[in-house]
Amino acid sequence: MIEIAISNAKYLADDNGQNIAIEFQSEGETKTVMLNATGNRHYDEIQRQVAAGTLTIEDAD
């Protein structure tokens, strides 16, 4: 399957340490998508790649 190229995925957390978004690289840009943004093509692709075992999301700093 042809897919959106996504790399360097990492959770972003709020002041309470709760994960709120995913930061990632795609098409030469650093992008951010909120968690549970179902219907967003990047979020859906990240979930697909994680489920397929081809992408890992790093913990927040």
Binding site: E23, T30, G39, N40, H42
Partner: protein
């Protein structure tokens, strides 16, 4: 004395808002021209259309001023790295996608499913037989219906009209998700060409998607392909293209993509202060900043934050001293806007004015 005939309602005379496609005249191009593209669902040039490059060459995409009479712009692709022998699973498609809630009137999935007519102007140095399909993605089974068209004369604008009968077997979810695609095949391997073209709606068989395609647009770096005046309308006849104002088309496109900078400024890091968000920070605390989009997005968008004065992303800078940088991130986002946090400045005195820019993307 002049006489005017007024058709009674219900006579099948469809006036106003005939074109289901937005930006069909390629007026709006917020992302600017792009080069060196190889990925699937690649955006650039005119808004809301994508180039789906499946391991078949490298491409530049632009908004061109080469256009047929009555139009000012077209969507243009140039091959910059050729692939004369695509692998079986490779394919190149130019694509437009509809939300389900925008095509309910087609009555797909019922015995009353309506025919639609696609019309467009196309031009290429590469003559031959091309394929365009309608792809019903929603809700459970992928289905497709394809037709061929021919570019007969090199480097000449040609007008094409193609009618597709409706799909009586599967309708669309009434929501904001991807439902109906228009795909112009520009090159494909045997996985897509080895069958028999599906000229009426059928469950997806890849081999039947582009059978009859005689062209591989990726076979030479001399190749280019341009298109404009795209209209999809209900019925079995094409009417004149429905021109709309730039403002109308911009607002329609901003449902899927919006940027903080002026239209003439490309979305990128180190692209200057024109159009950035300015705010003040408080020493030791930074600041939060909310922003409301001009147009609500189709879905919660993907956000990109740009540094106006260097190539390092996700940084706001002290406007008076750009070497002073602040980490910037998205704390909250919806289809209506976002909340950003700006903190950790290398020299954050209260009252420092910082700036950054942004883009929001919610394409299908």
């Amino acid at each position: 004395m002049a006489l005017t005939t007024v058709r009674p309602e219900g006579m099948g005379f469809n006036t106003g808002r005939r074109n289901l496609v937005i930006n069909g005249a390629m007026q709006v191009a917020q992302r600017g021209d792009v080069t060196g593209k190889t990925g699937d669902n690649t955006y650039g040039g005119p808004d809301h259309f994508s180039l789906r490059i499946g391991s078949i060459g490298t491409w530049s995409i632009s908004q061109s001023s080469t256009a047929p009479d009555g139009f000012a712009n077209s969507y243009k692709i140039d091959c910059t790295t050729a692939d004369a022998s695509p692998a079986a699973g490779d394919r190149l498609m130019f694509t437009y996608r509809f939300e389900g809630q925008d095509v309910q009137q087609l009555q797909y999935g019922t015995s009353s499913a309506k025919s639609v007519t696609l019309s467009f102007y196309v031009r290429s140095n590469k003559t031959g037989t091309y394929v365009v399909d309608l792809f019903n993605h929603d809700p459970s089974t992928d289905r497709h219906c394809a037709k061929t068209y021919t570019i007969s004369s090199a480097n000449t604008w040609e007008y094409k009209t193609i009618t597709f009968a409706g799909d009586t077997s599967q309708g669309f979810d009434d929501d904001n998700g991807r439902s109906l695609d228009i795909n112009w095949f520009l090159g494909a391997g045997t996985d897509f060409t080895s069958g028999t073209l599906a000229t009426s709606f059928a469950d997806l068989v890849n081999a039947n998607r582009a059978a009859g395609l005689s062209v591989n647009l990726a076979d030479s770096t001399d190749n280019e392909w341009l298109i404009t005046g795209i209209q999809l309308e209900v019925g079995e006849n094409a009417s004149d293209f429905e021109h709309r104002s730039f403002g109308e088309e911009l607002a329609a496109c901003q449902r899927y993509y919006e940027k903080g900078m002026p239209q003439a400024t490309l979305p990128a890091n180190n692209n200057g202060y024109n159009g950035v968000i300015y705010t003040n920070v408080q020493s030791g605390y930074g600041t939060w900043h909310t922003y409301q989009f001009s147009v609500p997005k189709r879905a919660t968008p993907t956000m990109t934050l740009f540094n106006p004065s260097s190539g390092t992303a996700n940084k706001a800078v002290d406007v008076a001293s750009p070497s002073v940088v602040f980490t910037t991130s998205i704390l909250y986002g919806t289809e209506y806007g976002f909340l950003s946090a700006i903190y950790g400045g290398s020299s954050d005195s209260t009252g420092i004015k910082v700036g950054f820019s942004w883009q929001a993307e919610a394409e299908l």
